[in-house]
């Protein structure tokens, strides 16, 4: 009896070992659910870019050409030395590698790359703008970025780009007697000068200023995400070429991908072909400066009231096309300390990370997510991940496959 018991126990254990070994050796590397997730992240899943309903020239090549010239024009700045391209460097994914942008002075946020932003419902780290054209107008009047103002910008367009502008948008307003510098918010002199301008004329200047943004947006729409090694891997998998796929991503990179779409929970916020959910999350980040930055919650009221938004007088959209703005969340406690999930395409080659460059390396970012500390302001959704150092290293290896190939 005793021998029988031992023999049976040995048989059960041996059987279990055989089954387990078989499961490891012959199980497909990816489940059906994982394969679907991988394809959902591939650039092949990105739908064609639709025209921006709020910008009637979004698809106009002449507008894109004017926008490109404006993007690189340093005359659109207080010191004649700053253009959009000063911080959005074309050879650096249209960002500047600095913790915070530096124009006329130091900003308080990391410069964001441009590729794919035409798909985003909200722009800037706090999402205070709802279109590329409206976004482009912010830095021009920001004293630490271009330090310009709308009167100066419209004057420059009239002096340097009148034929191109008027061919696209129609006549520029009459600028006779317009102050050199005027804008509704900013230095007291520029604001006082703006308030002297009759409201009908203010509206004409605002329209021309909005058109400058629309031309820049038409150019920025042409900056699109590039194919990566991950995309090549996903295409090979979709075509059933498992061996070919495995020649594109190595074992560590594939392990990292599995964690990215699984235990790491990365894909909850970095989803879709642009690897962003376009939403705002509190990541319990360390403060970049002494001042508290509440992110999304601090700007929602202003974003709703922005005259350059989708529902404003300078938008070309019907109100029905402005759902993101119309139904945006404005009061949830989730918004406090919330910042936009950035696209992870090209992420490995553009440190530092987070909205104020708080982390110098991808490893620092991953360690932060793994630890999930409590939030200093608001509350965070992060939970500790309990990943090993090897798993963090695999995740980092995967993130490096998202660089343009």
């Amino acid at each position: 009896m005793r021998r029988l018991l031992l023999a049976t126990a040995a048989f059960v254990i041996f059987g279990a070992a055989v089954v387990a070994a078989g499961a490891i050796l012959f199980a497909p590397e990816w489940s059906g659910d994982e394969l679907r997730r991988i394809q959902s992240l591939s650039l092949a899943s990105l739908p064609p870019l639709r025209p921006d309903p709020s910008n009637r020239v979004s698809e106009d090549p002449a507008a894109a050409a004017l926008g490109k010239a404006l993007f690189f024009d340093t005359r659109l700045s207080a010191n004649g030395a700053i253009s959009c391209a000063s911080c959005h460097k074309p050879d650096r994914q249209f960002q500047d590698d600095l913790p915070v942008g530096h124009g006329m002075g130091d900003g308080n946020r990391r410069t964001m790359p441009i590729a794919g932003t035409a798909y985003f419902p909200f722009l800037f780290w706090d999402g205070r703008k709802d279109s590329q054209w409206s976004q482009a107008l912010g830095p021009l009047e920001n004293p630490v970025e271009h330090g310009a103002d709308r009167a100066m910008v419209v004057r420059l367009v009239a002096a340097a780009y009148r034929p191109q502008y008027e061919a696209i948008f129609g006549p520029l307003p009459d600028l006779a007697g317009l102050p050199e510098h005027a804008m509704p918010e900013g230095t007291s002199a520029a604001v006082a000068a703006w308030n002297e301008i009759p409201s009908t004329r203010q509206a004409e200047i605002n329209l021309a200023y909005a058109n400058v943004g629309k031309a820049i947006a038409a150019f920025e729409r042409t900056i699109v995400p590039q194919q990566t090694r991950f995309d090549a891997f996903a295409s090979a998998l979709a075509g059933g070429q498992k061996t070919g796929a495995n020649a594109i991503l190595n074992e560590h990179e594939r392990a990292g991908l599995k964690l990215f779409i699984g235990q790491g929970n990365c894909v909850t916020c970095h989803n879709g072909p642009l690897l962003t959910d376009n939403a705002f999350h509190n990541l319990a980040l360390p403060k970049a400066t002494l001042a508290t930055d509440e992110g999304r919650s601090a700007v929602v009221v202003k974003a709703k009231a922005d005259p350059f938004n989708c529902l404003g007088p300078f938008s070309d959209a019907r109100p029905q096309a402005c759902s993101e703005l119309k139904f945006m969340e404005t009061s949830s406690p989730d918004l406090v300390g919330g910042f936009r999930s950035p696209s992870l395409r090209g992420v490995a080659s553009r440190p530092p990370y987070m909205h104020a460059g708080q982390f110098a390396t991808l490893h620092d970012v991953l360690v932060h997510y793994n630890r999930a500390p409590a939030a200093a302001v608001g509350r965070t959704e992060l939970k500790p991940l309990q990943l090993t150092e090897q798993q963090l290293s695999d995740l980092e290896a995967f993130l490096r496959t998202l660089d343009p190939s």
């Binding site: 031992l6 126990a9 059960v12 916020c269 879709g272 939403a279 993101e324 139904f327």
Partner: protein, 148 residues
């Protein structure tokens, strides 16, 4: 050291194997929705005042894009409920956050149907949607589960 009987090994070994295997499996997966979740999209409200039915106007329900739903409210006998004010809210219980947008019931479509605009789910997973109804039969609500 207490002696473990051989008989008990028969129980302990398979249980340990199952626990280890399922633990290892769970660790590899994202946190899934709880099992046995009621996925019915039509149900009586909590106090039985109404029956609420919800449906997305797109199939499959999209992740990442703003879209519309329809909610139908009837009395328990199936009569379309008239004169009701409806609010919609939701979130992800496992993540502790709400909807990324603030959807609203914007249009009375007749026959107890109402259009919900501004719906958006920004990530896959388990979401709840709560329909709150204020009408002639009083206030009541129903919470639905949606897994994307």
């Amino acid at each position: 050291m207490p002696k473990i009987s051989r008989r008990s090994l028969f129980v302990i070994i398979p249980i340990a194997a199952i626990v280890l295997a399922s633990g290892g499996f769970a660790a590899k997966m994202m946190e899934g929705p709880p099992s046995g979740l009621d996925l019915a999209l039509s149900k009586a409200t909590e106090h039985g005042a109404y029956i609420a039915s919800i449906a997305a106007d797109q199939s499959p329900i999209p992740v990442g894009s703003i879209h519309t739903w329809t909610v139908k409210v009837t009395t328990p006998d199936g009569t379309p409920a008239a004169g009701v004010a409806i609010a919609i809210d939701g979130g992800m219980p496992q993540h502790g956050h709400g909807l990324p947008t603030k959807p609203e019931v914007t249009t009375d479509l007749g026959e107890g149907n109402h259009l919900i605009e501004g719906m958006k789910f920004n990530m896959p997973g388990w979401w709840t949607l709560t329909v709150s109804i204020d009408g002639p039969k009083g206030t009541d609500k129903a919470t639905f589960n949606v897994v994307l």
